[in-house]
Symmetry: C2
Subunit: 265 residues, 2 copies
């Protein structure tokens, strides 16, 4: 059993979200299990599964076909960092499927996407081809707007596809990874410096919890800031521990209310 959880750069236009959902549902042997859209992030996450690698690859190509035709990053604005119309495409092994099988599938998918759509592809996590581009934040740093520069760097040649950014669809990051929890906390303030302090407090790389990644994000339509987190190993770092660290830091800044918003394993 394979799970695929692509994130596309559209969280506001119902007709595009619907068209992508239809493309996935229309693929025989694939089950669409979840859609999550966030209008402030301007981003949607689709979750689908199949026990057939060919079928889940086909659904993913159909998703690209719709998303690339409808999303133009040159006019896309959202609070979440992104480099592609289809930003990131993780494959996750479920049940008896192995990580090696997922790596093989992600590699096949990356090659097929590059060939069919002319989009530069970066393989990440377990599928990565170099250590410096294993982690998503490293690949995504600079965003779509600066990728034209970044792609000229020898260290940032794509794994597949042209060495130039697709005009409207950018680049895509495709890979294989373990399940993770995407976990957001809204803070009862609009002060970005509080979200930044909380993100620093909780994330492993700056001294916080080892298996946590965190980004501060402004939610303009809600007049709030958010700490957007990934829990990379929810057995070792449970939700409540990350929650407690963020809440403690928020309280230190005089922010008392924190709202929980958990999504997408």
């Amino acid at each position: 059993m394979f799970e695929c959880i692509p994130n596309i750069s559209e969280g506001r236009d119902a007709s595009t979200i619907d068209a992508v959902a239809g493309a996935i549902r229309g693929t025989a042997g694939v089950q669409l299990l979840n859609i999550h859209s966030d209008p402030d992030h301007n981003r949607s996450v689709f979750t689908y599964i199949s026990d057939d690698a060919d079928a889940i690859l086909e659904a993913t190509l159909r998703l690209f076909e719709v998303a690339v035709a409808r999303i133009d990053l040159r006019i896309h604005h959202g609070a979440h960092p992104r480099v592609g119309a289809v930003d990131v495409v993780p494959f996750v092994p479920l049940e008896h499927t192995t990580m090696d099988e997922c790596v093989a599938l992600a590699t096949r998918a990356g090659r097929a996407i590059a060939e069919r759509f002319g989009i530069p592809i970066y393989l990440y996590e377990h599928a990565a081809t170099a250590e410096h581009r294993r982690e998503l934040p490293a690949i995504r740093s600079g965003g779509f707007e600066q990728f034209g520069q970044k792609i000229r760097d020898e260290r940032w040649q794509p794994d597949f596809g042209p060495a130039s950014v697709h005009e409207s669809a950018g680049v895509s990051v495709v890979g294989a990874r373990v399940p993770l929890i995407a976990f957001n906390m809204q803070l009862g303030t609009d002060r970005m410096e509080v979200a930044q302090a909380c993100a620093r407090a909780v994330r492993g790389i700056s001294g916080g919890l080892k298996y946590v990644r965190a980004l501060p994000i402004a939610l303009a339509s809600r007049g709030l800031v958010q700490v957007s987190m990934n829990l990379l190993d929810f057995r070792r770092t449970p939700i409540q521990r990350a929650f407690a660290v963020v809440r403690e830091e928020a309280e230190r800044h005089g922010v008392l209310s924190a709202r929980l918003d958990i999504n997408q394993l």
Copy 2:
């Protein structure tokens, strides 16, 4: 392959959400795919799958064990209607699994939950035992607070368990259904009458789109109202059509912004 998507009446306390997630994850043969929590609804939705009916039943019993120990409806407040600590437990057939197999599983689960926890169980949708209690809104009407009266009515005897409401855990609704999309729209106003008008406009029962159920909900922490919808047949009524009807009605009331929030198939 079976999918189970229980909704529990806790969307704020990270330690309870985490404990429930741990109980599901700790069950061999079951994959937890998604958690969605909403603090205003004060409700969380867990999505897990298994190809083993015994395993998914075991995970569901473990979920009840944690939720019943930690959630007390007498002190629970939330914007979403509910009758139980574990409010509703739908089983959905995926891949080659049939609806009949799901009905059998839901019936087994209902009996086991009633026996182990002493909670009255109502079977719904494809598992329902009478036409007047096929649909969730009919079973849930009145909520936990009025269920002590309702359960004395002959037409509302539970399918399993005692004919009296569990003191802290209420009653639970267990059944088998097709996949659906839970789809919420936030309106740029705090006027409940606008949400009520939009819900009336879009839902099938009051003259709107046939496969849409809709509820107006106040989101206190966001200072907004919401139309919370279920799309019962997303092939015949796509997201964008429901979105357009709600937006049109909201605009008629002078409310221009509508935010999309799609979750949980």
